[in-house]
Amino acid sequence: MSAGAFRTATGGRIDRTHTLRFTFDGRPLQGCAGDTLASALLANGRHLVGRSFKYHRPRGIVTSGSEEPNALVTVVRDGGRTTPNLRATQVELYDGLTAISQNRWPSLTRDLGAINDKLSLMFPAGFYYKTFMGPRFLPENWAWTKVFEPAIRRAAGLGRAPTSADPDRYASRYAHCDVLVAGAGPAGLAAALAAAEAGARVIVADEQSEMGGSLLSASRGAINGVPTAQCAADALAQLAGHARVRLLPRTTVFGYFAQNMAGLAERISDHDPSPDPEGPRERLWQVRARHVVIATGAIERPLVFSNNDRPGIMLAGAALTYLNRYGVTPGQRAVIAGSHDGIYAAALDLAGVGVEVAAVLDTRADPQSAAMAAALDAGLPIRTGTCIVGSRGHLRVSEIMIGAPMADGSIRDAGRIPCDCLLMSGGWTPSVHLFSQSRGKLRFDAAAGVFLPGVSAQSETSAGACGGASGLAAVIESGAAAGRTAAQACGFGLGRARAYRVEGILEATEATGHVNAPRLPQGMAKAFVDFQNDVTSRDLELAAREGFRSIEHIKRYTTTGMATDQGKTSNMNALALVSGTLNTTVPDVGLTTFRQPYTPVTFGTLAGMARGDLFDPIRRTSIDGWAQGKGAAFEDVGTWKRAWYFPRAKEDMHAAVARECRTVRAAVGVFDASTLGKIEVVGPDAAEFLERMYVNAFKALKPGRCRYGILLNEAGFVIDDGVIARLAQDRFHVTTTTGGAASVLNMMEDYLQTEWPDLQVWLTSTTEQWAVIAVQGPRARDVIAPLVDGADVGGEALPHMSVCEAKVAGVPARLFRVSFTGELGFEINVPVGAGRSVWEAVAARVEDAGGCAYGTEAMHVLRAEKGYIIVGQETDGTVIPEDLGLGWAIGKSKADFVGRRSLVRPDMIRTDRKQLVGLLTRGRDVLLDDGAQVTSVAAPAKGTAALGHVTSSYHSSVLGKSIALALVRGGRGLMGQRLHVPMPKGAVEVEVVSPVFYDPKGEKLNG
């Protein structure tokens, strides 16, 4: 037989003619198109697929869906595409698939870690809190950090992270719809159809490769005369016919956020043996829906009994899915057990394909149902009032022990049944995850023993099994009704309701079945509640015994529900156990919080296309290309790239910067200042507005003149500065720091709109309108004069701190006479489109004049030589103008400006505040570290408070020595004194000097 000895002859949705080869732990196997890795492994009789987290117990496939706790594998692909911790139940088989098991060494069948199982008495829940603190004779924490913790870490974890970078791409999309349907089982499909037919814009997402949910596992029955298994395809075809319906298979609705936003993770290419290398692997959808229909079904619960975790023990519903959807039988001799009618359907279907049904065990004493009657008719060996008390077998179950519960609560031995698989059903838990994430309140349905959606918090409806509907007819009905309600909530008419007639189904009589009272183990045996994290019934009892009452504590102490399946199959069992142990009710104990994601979501999917150059915008000036051509090095300033320095042949950064500085001082330099923020402030009240914003007086500023502006926050601290030019009575050109451009504009708008809405003044960002070419140096005027048309650039006509309009190199420009170097300087503002050409014209003349282009580093050195501050370097959000020696800038006659009141708070008028000073090192070449501390003695005792710190430190090639700016306590009163700067190699003696190192009289400003 092809593709597995446990494959049925016919049936299922796989393509038997299309054989796929794959390997598991190196062993070559075959499956069929349409298989999952799990179904293909089972078809080959392979149940053992992994080892548990803590005890390394052999584990098999328990479920057929995303709730799988055990069957986690690593799928190996080329390069960085290997992925750990995938659920075999969700991995679609493709030709050549390579999967390996995890958390075992040296092999899955012989795993040394299994010793933990033998020693498990030492490892109850939370054991690590109680030990590893000694031994006493060793220093505190020594053994823990050196021995125990490393050992624990090595033992923990499941799969291995890839070792090379992920080469795949991830896409993302915002989407909007009227109705989002989560889950495309019978309820979801009926809802989608109803909503679509009412005219709504619908998105349907289902995490599986094929839509249809439980319909795909149906073996009998019909809806409106169409066999159930065919119904999904019909519904999908109809949905596809609606232009406003979007079907998203392989897409998990993983999160339900505020105001009906849902996060969806679409898996696009993992199922493909050779995916399009250009295409994305997965896609994040952020969907805003007006109404959400949650139709996510229900999840079956395991039974809790001794050794309930052996390979070969699986959920009955899963077995049905493997049989009817994948054509796979779970074994040759099956025992089927549970407290729910589902077991009869499973038994009948298995018997129907020739599996020997060794026994059907119903824990209920006297169940009555059509399903049971059918099983009786078929002659299946049914035992009611019977439970399972244990299992045997090594790497696979070989036998189960059964018992009969007595009236006094004890259990009478009722024998053993040899088998190679046990199919169990402890009932069904409605998937209320998304509802709960939407912040809806759950209610406990005592009759069914489950939590169901109670009070909604958002516009949503739960339909089908997740909403508590039982039986296919009711499920479809609730889905259709939900779809109609949803469309109506979005303003569409109710429309005609479709009629659905369901026939021939073995309906369950109860929605879910009560949480099965666990049959607790005797002796050493363990009964697992949370399979993946190896949490046993005993761990839960221990937690209760140790005083943990809250289920939240019990969860964290035992780690139940904290594995990759987040307790999908285990939380209700844990809850039942705990409430039993604590002698209270399930709703009194309550649930832990449902959190997104519903199932794990790839980091790459969440990061989307934000990687490499698209991680954040890379902003480049219009002159950037020129700088690149000259081999400039760049630095990041906010999102901008700025030319940092322009190394010439063999120059390192130091040499290049030294040359650039000398050239500016001796001749002329040209600098790209385009990134400076610019705001055009226009209107009759413009001067008044700026007067209120900045510390400086602006009303008195004459058109054509500029002023250095300092901006404080309301707390009085310097947050920005820049040159502000008055272009006309009602028009200012304000510049800000590169990093401050957006926040200053925001702050100005804030005051304008909310504090002074009466002012007639408007703001426009012009940062990107103007390219700014700074020409600085004694020859600056010579360089630009021939290029300027329409203005006199002479010292009289255009004095320091003035502005005019002119043509530069033929381009209309705003020409500023300003200096950030202390040299004669101009800043040519031209429209960005002409930036490069004007720059080239200027740069050519600069070079002819013996000058050069300089970068931000030289700019920093030049300004530091002059003692000019840089916001963010000399300031750190705790500095007021007076600290910087900028008290002079404050408009003395002004009644108010932003931050003024704060400047007279007690701490601001202290005399021992840190003040900006210059520092000169004893040795001329000793360079202080940025941020080095300043102390009064060379070797301060540990814990001595510093006097201050170095804010800027450079080697000045022009002055032939190192210079530094520093904020020092009472610094202006310490001129000439010797202080110390402790550095890694010993303290450096420094002299406190004026922060203006170069041209203190400012004579060079005039060339």
């Binding site: 750990p84 008495l121 030492m122 109850p124 690590y128 809190y129 109680k130 603190m133 505190e140 924490n141 823990w144 950090t145 913790e149 870490r153 923990a156 499941l158 799969g159 291995r160 992270a161 970078a165 992920d166 956020f257 005993r538 015994r545 140790e546 005083g547 009452r549 504590h553 964290r556 990759t564 987040q566 959190r595 997104q596 794990p600 790839t602 790459g604 969440l606 990061a607 989307g608 990687r611 991680f615 890379i618 630095e635 300033v637 370097q873 750190d876 705790t878 704060s902 007690p906 570290d929 940025d930 941020g931 080095a932 301060p940 540990k942 814990g943 408070a945 510093a946 710190h949 402790p982």
Partner: protein
């Protein structure tokens, strides 16, 4: 019963039947000497040190939910003391020293793991700021060292130090004594310790009012389990501080924001240390169980909802995936939020209040887990003596009036 390897073995042989409750669940008494509001790490530590160091054992810790269920139970557990300002250095270093001996002190393994905290610099400005920290810390006797990108990579192999990164790693500041601890164990250890010294920890008991006598001084609290008298009340309620202080008609310089964190599925050890990147908002370590524990940024609006927006998470994972390209295929397993109490200068408020008998310890914002032992220690002293412990003194409420802020945010963006 003492926790020890020997007792673990002994108990193992008898099926662990005899472990006593880690703490009692007592009924509240009508009066206590001190009531601590909030059974987070800080509140429990406060009670523990009140009993242990000041002999004040007639203490109740009132908790509206389950102890440790606030931010203590939802933080990324980063511990370090390399803060900038002297006042901060003093308190965080005080805490770090206590961390180093905490497991034995409490006889509870809190799994303090000094595996090193590395903060990455991505631009010249970052480099300058971090170097300033390094220098300041060294002067204060706090370890902090500067690493080149290559050294950073050697310390943390999965780190991407490619110069081609949008924000390349230009180096990092490493505090080797920094690390992580098992957050729940910290709450449980202090709870057990305090309980053993006689403190009543009363869960599911929400404080709904603060009672004051005719002189305005505190005389007790109203709770969902009745009135409880006390002449001294210490509020240690993190995100809920404003709500509690409003009960005494006090407004606070605090806003409460959602802060999110997430974990990946567990994987074998890949990340040996803690990595923080303030400028691109990513914080990551690997727990002993194997999950990557990742901290995100705060949402922009105030909220009491313990959840946050997806866009905050995606933003964080963008940064993580860029710094650790081998993690891109790993998957987020759970995402949650806490409510952090943020002050204007990102430094805590510890001390007295204008209401006699009412003490407050709050404002730890995004970074108070690391301070837990130190905070509890100095707050206990403050309550016991009725005046601020010297280390706590600079963190007074008055600083907002005088303007003497301790602005960690100004110098280093977010402070985890």
């Amino acid at each position: 019963m003492q926790y020890s390897f020997l007792n673990l073995v002994r108990q193992g042989l008898s099926g662990h039947q005899d472990w006593p409750a880690q703490w009692r669940s007592p009924e509240p008494k009508t009066a206590y000497d001190v009531v601590v509001v909030g059974a987070g790490g800080h509140g429990l530590a406060t009670a523990y040190y009140l009993a242990k160091e000041h002999g004040i054992t007639n203490v109740a810790v009132l908790e509206k939910g389950w102890l440790g269920g606030g931010n203590t139970g939802r933080n990324t557990t980063i511990i370090r003391s390399n803060y900038l300002w002297e006042e901060s250095e003093a308190i965080y270093e005080h805490a770090l020293r206590l961390w180093e001996t905490l497991s034995r002190e409490l006889n509870y393994n809190v799994m303090y793991s000094p595996r090193g905290v590395m903060m990455l610099a991505h631009n010249v400005h970052d480099v300058q700021v971090f170097k300033r920290h390094v220098h300041a810390n060294r002067l204060a006797g706090i370890d902090n060292e500067w690493l080149s990108p290559e050294e950073a990579k050697a310390f943390c192999p999965p780190l991407n130090i490619s110069r081609q990164l949008r924000y390349p790693v230009l180096g990092g500041a490493l505090q080797r004594r920094g690390g992580v601890a098992r957050h729940d164990a910290v709450a449980w250890g202090y709870a057990r310790g305090a309980d053993r010294l006689g403190v009543d920890i009363i869960q599911n008991c929400e404080v709904t009012g603060i009672r004051r006598d005719i002189n305005g001084a505190v005389e007790g609290v109203e709770t969902t389990r009745g009135t409880i008298k006390a002449k001294k009340v210490g509020v240690v309620a993190a995100g809920h501080t404003s709500v509690l202080m409003a009960m005494a008609s006090l407004r606070m310089p605090i806003e409460s924001f959602p802060l999110q964190a997430l974990v990946s599925e567990p994987i074998k050890p890949v990340l040996p240390c803690v990595v923080m990147s303030n400028s691109i908002h990513a914080y990551i370590s690997q727990s002993d169980k194997g999950e990557l524990v990742i901290g995100a940024g705060t949402d922009v609006y105030t909220s009491y909802s313990q959840t946050g927006g997806l866009h905050i998470t995606t933003h964080t994972l963008e940064a993580i995936a860029e710094l650790f390209p081998t993690f891109r295929r790993l998957r987020m397993m759970r995402n949650w939020g806490g409510i952090v109490d943020v002050t204007p200068d990102r430094s805590p408020i510890i001390g007295t209040t204008p209401v006699p008998g009412l003490f407050v310890n709050c404002g730890w914002g995004t970074g108070g887990f690391k301070a837990t032992p130190g905070s509890g220690h100095v707050f206990a002293a403050t309550i016991a003596r009725g005046e601020p412990h010297p280390i706590a003194a600079p963190f007074s409420l008055e600083r907002f009036v005088t303007g003497r802020l301790i602005d960690e945010a100004a110098a280093a963006a977010v402070a985890h």
